[in-house]
Symmetry: C2
Subunit: 635 residues, 2 copies
Amino acid sequence: MCGEIIPYQYKVLNDEVEGIPPSHAIGNFQLAAGEEEGIYGGMLFQDSDVGKWIEAASYALDWEKNPLLEEQIDGLVCLMKKAQGEDGYLNTYYTCKKPGERFTNIAHGHELYCAGHLLEGAVAYAKVTGKEEFLHIMIKYIELLREKIGAGQGQMRIYPGHPELEMALYKLYQYTKEEKYLDFMEYFIKERGSQPSFLEKDSGFGEQFKDKWFGLTYHQAHRPVAEQREAVGHAVRAMYLYAAMADLAGEKGDEQLKQSLRALWDDVTGKKMYLTGAVGSEAHGESFGTAYDLPNDRAYAETCASIGLIFWAKRMLRLEKDSRYGDVLEQALYNGAISGISEDGKKYFYVNPLMMLPEEAEARYDLQHVSKERTSWFGCACCPPNVARLIASLKDYIYEDNEGNENLEKGLYIHLYVEGEMRFGRNGESGFAVEGDYIKNGRIRYTYKGKTAEKAIYFRIPSWCGRWEIRLNDERIMGGEADGERDEEAAKRLKKGYAAINRQWQEGDTVDVAFEIKPRLVFANPKVWADAGRCALMRGPVVYCLEEKDNGKNLNAIVVKGKEGWTLGWREEQGYLDGEAAISFPAEREDAEEWGNALYRYKKSARKEIKAVAIPYHSWGNRGCGEMAVWMRVE
Amino acid sequence: MCGEIIPYQYKVLNDEVEGIPPSHAIGNFQLAAGEEEGIYGGMLFQDSDVGKWIEAASYALDWEKNPLLEEQIDGLVCLMKKAQGEDGYLNTYYTCKKPGERFTNIAHGHELYCAGHLLEGAVAYAKVTGKEEFLHIMIKYIELLREKIGAGQGQMRIYPGHPELEMALYKLYQYTKEEKYLDFMEYFIKERGSQPSFLEKDSGFGEQFKDKWFGLTYHQAHRPVAEQREAVGHAVRAMYLYAAMADLAGEKGDEQLKQSLRALWDDVTGKKMYLTGAVGSEAHGESFGTAYDLPNDRAYAETCASIGLIFWAKRMLRLEKDSRYGDVLEQALYNGAISGISEDGKKYFYVNPLMMLPEEAEARYDLQHVSKERTSWFGCACCPPNVARLIASLKDYIYEDNEGNENLEKGLYIHLYVEGEMRFGRNGESGFAVEGDYIKNGRIRYTYKGKTAEKAIYFRIPSWCGRWEIRLNDERIMGGEADGERDEEAAKRLKKGYAAINRQWQEGDTVDVAFEIKPRLVFANPKVWADAGRCALMRGPVVYCLEEKDNGKNLNAIVVKGKEGWTLGWREEQGYLDGEAAISFPAEREDAEEWGNALYRYKKSARKEIKAVAIPYHSWGNRGCGEMAVWMRVE
């Protein structure tokens, strides 16, 4: 899919795709570089789209060499160099549109956020290609920021309104090993939440945003981060902040931060996360709602927030190997994150509701944030390049081999089951070939290639799976036998949800991992009022949904009955997503016709037996506009 | 209840109730009259509250003489006289705050709306007391309006942005019999919807309201009213307009208008009305949503809109005697209208949701229109005096004896079953004493008093009742025997839902009407997604609800099972509304505790058997803040 997305997005950022309003993202750099005349266009954080795109393109280069793509990046880097101020400052909005207003609106101006995304792009490009020009540009900018910002005399005591630079600085530290970048990141994290907060004095948004949704909680700045226990405010900001906190906690072994992170994790995944791994249920302020408030039609569930949850989960895994983080990583990845992109890679959802009623979405003011179909681009286009960099960097999420940090657990941990290869050792000289199709049938085979070597390999046993087995050289060595979720007995023999094989690996050794992967009904905690009396359908980590295309209008008249007679259909047969099944199942449908003109009456609806069809949630809306529902009525 | 409400509201309008921000309503008249100095306060339609209060107070005087109250009204009339311009103009907002801007913002300025409410007050006061000074003041103003507005040369071709004056003019016509007022009202109704509309050029609201919700449909001005078939836009405006259209259609026998009214009625009551008789499901624009879009938590369901529906229903009944209008009148009256007022008469709901989750209502931006508890008054206080005038004029809704208009059906029609007396004849010399308690036990007795006289009396047989009987002098003469709703066989012997007794009435004749009144479950059309898988509970015309006070938190975890074991409790036993039953019934409750920290899982919730308690919806929120739900889960 990367092969399509990245060139497409490059064209969009260059304003070369017909029918899409200009992004101005690259144009703004041309302006700042003095190569073009005109006026700044787009959001004040338009620079970040270029940073994210370069990051995504860099990861793509790691999959496959591509001289054209490299040339395009180099062209952008050349622009950046010209756009950069002599002092190192690099932000086209403040350079072209608001000269003299640098660092005056840290709360909402996204200046440090843009720096973060450009820096992530620079580190990624350097890492993949070894070319460091962009990195040096960014280091020059970071040095300017380090000079201006901090607790010292004459410095601005600030931190990013929208966290992002923190994660980027940690990457810079990892790449350069220079402690000062870690210190700078730590300063940002520890400073956040100190009172009184500079954020309240910032110029901020317009008057219409002067309400409680845009206060300190919006920025997770209501108290020091190490004291935070509940996820509040802007969901993407929260996810990026928590991810950076986990970076820092892992690096430093900071127990206070870890405690805060565990509580925040429990709060998010135990009370505020949609089944799809989406977070942020409140459109106003793009923010977390109260516990268990997860309405399906009004969900904000921003694509970027699911991606942020994936970033955070990955870093929690680095912090402590517990499969619950991997489970959520997988859940967000296969559902709420990739639902943000169409099958052809060229259309995007910003908001990912779990129920779509097109007429209501069109007519209701409180649903105006919801889009009935994916669109080609957005004025605020944070999501598309974010999906691109997530997908392009997928291999960073699959497995992890921690070395060299005493605060981290040792061993090779497999978090996701994806075909390809898995390398380890000093120069990646050993490894496994990975074959199979986990999403399709739950089976995947690891074949060892390399010199005989001792290594502990840990396989995540997903909590959605009760019946599974691991075979070493065709001999069963472990397994679970539960009919439902996690086999609690088998779980006792796992290490926090991971099955360990520690041995001398020899060329040709095979490990077969097999998970029973069958459609199952999932229920929500009764406190989730929006899902009361309803169930969802999952298969493996994939959440399903009903679409009007397969089931006709009025999906809320369909009632799931029992679990017999379920059948799978595949893409080649029915036109669904590659390798994933559509699921047909017997259900009942209330008959609205039989009601005539009645709106209310004593008699329950008559019902008809029907065959309902569910498809993976992430692929909804690829066949035109219509109703969609994840949560179905059940009795 | 009137005895409490009217003096309380007088104090509020005089800014004499501690703890309530000043209304300024009477103060503005003092200002315009030159009796006080200061600045105009409150909404631009603050005058209307005084008009409505005088109207309510006048009806109260009709129940019972009250010299103090009459003095208070006379005092206000005296103020009005002084506040009136020499040319007759009377509006304190434009006089005190926007001199020179008369008639520049008809779309949203509420100038004609205020004229309408003052006129309704003036007519009511004249009718009840015979004192016409206020009426003459208002006639002078109306004459000014008649001079300025119309289709003639040099006149403004406008009509009220918010309908109201139309109904008032019809009342003026009925009182004075002067055709010119009927003509003026007809002009307004026929002119509405002509294109291009002056409304689009009006100054209107601020920028934030320049969206599709505030266009021509908001004012029901998108096409001529006789061509309208679907209810759209601001719900109160729509109700007041349709009511006036029915006045006109009844007066003129206008078949085109009648056709439009029947279609609009079907659209509202068949697709857009809450079970409580509330209308207008969309907060933005206080407007109708699309068909079947009736969310319970986000309902706007303005008290005034239910009252407007009652106005309309009453006028439809005048137009054609069909019990479906009476049924809705009763449904709105006993539920969505009086839910707007607390049991002590001093607190009010503007918005009447059918589900309340206090934490969400507090936290969610899209629920900010919803109030968790009734409040003492509002900045925009249209509802409280509207409830007051509705309750004070209740006897106008109980029965109707049409005489003297050839377009109306003859006979005495009983629409509501309420104790008291019912008079007819030229000077009201004949009549019935009415005793019983319809809401409590469905029984009511009519005893004839007066000279022997022939008269056709029609009794509405409510569609909610399948088993009923009418006994004349203790002998059963009619009845229904259905177990559920309307007995269709018996209905054939009715005249559009009314049971007729046409005879020579003699002193002491009795008619006993008895309706089987038992708790029953009600279901919504499957197209109403918000009520899918749910049922409501009614008893007679009264809609019930669950409250946290009786059932604990998380009402959505309660599931109604079957219809056995239902018991009634009365106010004296359990502290509920006078004469109305609380209903206890066996149900099941999902056990959230048993879930631990899980948000989603495979296993359905375990359930406990519980005794649930429902109380009348209109009396919810009288015992503190908590959850409330009308629609309950059912299997």
